[in-house]
Symmetry: C2
Subunit: 189 residues, 2 copies
C-alpha cells in the first residue's frame, strides 16, 4: 500500500457525503454520477475505484443518512422533551432543507422501487430508529408498542412532511406542519 489509508477513506467519505445530500435534494434517478463526483471535487473517472456501481453507492449512502438520523433522534429521545423532536421534524426548517433532512421523507417511494438488496439495507438501517421510537412510545402510553406501530408513527411524520413540501402556498404548508404536530402528539399519548 503506497498511499496512506486515510487518503482513500477520506475521498470515499467525500463522495458519500455529496451523494447522500444530492440524492435527498433531487432524487436518486435525477442525479447522475458526474454531478455527485463534481460535488465531491472529483471527476467521473474516479468513481469506480471507490464503488462497484451507482446502486452500491446508493446503499452506502442510505446507511449513512439513516444512521446519522438515528443518532440525532437517539439523543433527542434520551435528552430533553421528545416533543421537541416532533416539532423539529415537522418544522419549516426541516421542510426547506431536504438535503440534510430525513431520508425517508425524501426517498421512501423511490427506494421502494429499487432492488431487494437496496430495500433490505434501507429496512435494516431504519430498524434501530423504529426500535427507539417504539420504546419511547411504550413509556409514554404505558403499554407495549410494536415496531410496526412505530413505523406507522414515523409514516405520519414523513407523509405529512412530504405533503407540506409539495404544497406551494407557504401559509397552507405551515398549517399542514402544525396539524401534523397535533396529530403526532395525539397518536403518541
Amino acid at each position: 500500500m503506497r498511499y496512506a489509508p486515510e487518503h482513500n477513506a477520506a475521498t470515499r467519505e467525500r463522495i458519500l457525503e455529496a451523494a447522500s445530500r444530492l440524492f435527498r435534494e433531487h432524487g436518486i434517478a435525477a442525479v447522475g454520477l458526474s454531478k455527485i463526483m463534481a460535488a465531491a471535487g472529483l471527476t467521473v473517472g474516479t468513481f469506480y475505484t471507490h464503488f462497484k456501481s451507482k446502486e452500491a453507492l446508493l446503499r452506502e449512502s442510505l446507511c449513512r443518512s439513516l444512521d446519522a438520523r438515528h443518532e440525532e433522534l437517539g439523543q433527542a429521545l434520551l435528552g430533553a422533551d421528545p416533543e421537541t423532536l416532533i416539532r423539529a421534524y415537522l418544522s419549516p426548517e426541516h421542510r426547506d432543507a431536504p438535503g440534510t433532512g430525513c431520508p425517508i421523507a425524501a426517498l421512501a417511494p423511490e427506494v421502494a422501487r429499487h432492488p431487494r438488496a437496496t430495500r433490505h439495507t434501507f429496512s435494516v438501517h431504519n430498524a434501530p430508529t423504529l426500535a427507539a421510537l417504539a420504546t419511547w412510545l411504550s413509556s409514554r402510553q404505558g403499554k407495549q408498542v410494536s415496531r410496526a406501530d412505530a413505523a406507522a408513527f414515523l409514516g405520519l411524520l414523513a407523509g405529512t412532511l412530504q405533503l407540506a413540501r409539495a404544497t406551494p402556498d407557504r401559509a397552507e404548508s405551515d398549517a399542514i406542519l402544525h396539524a401534523g404536530v397535533q396529530a403526532a402528539l395525539r397518536l403518541a399519548t
Copy 2:
C-alpha cells in the same frame, strides 16, 4: 377539421392513461417519453402534437390520477363504512399495485421537487380530497376539522403505505399496514 375530434381526444387519453400508470410505477424521472408512447401504442414523434412538454404531460397526468382517486374516495365516504376505505388504502393489494394506486404515496416527494406550476396543479387537484376527508373527520369527531388536519391524516396513510412498500420482508410489511390502520382509526375518532 378533417379528423373526427374523437380521434385526437382518444389518443390523448391513451397517452395520459399510460403516463399516469408508468409515472406511479417507476417514478417521473425514471420514465422516458419513448416508454410512455410505446405503452400507448405510438412512437415518440407523435408526442408533441398532443402535449407541450413532459412537464405539461405530468401536470395533466396528476390531474387525472388525483381526480380519479377523489372519485373513488367520495363514493367510499358517502357509501358504506368509511373504515373500509382506510383498510383498502392500507391493504396488501394497494401496496402491490402502485401503478393504479394513490398518486400521493407514489409521487409526493418527487412532485415536491418539480416547478411551482406543477406543485400548484397537484395542490389544487388534491384539495377536494382533503375537503371531503375533513368533512368526514368532522362528523366523526363531532368538532370542526380543518383541511390541514385532513392533510395530516392523509399523510399518515400515504407515509405508512410508503414504508410498507419499502420494507422487503412481507410479514413485516403486512404488520406495518395493520398498525397503520389502527393508528388511522385512532386518529379519526
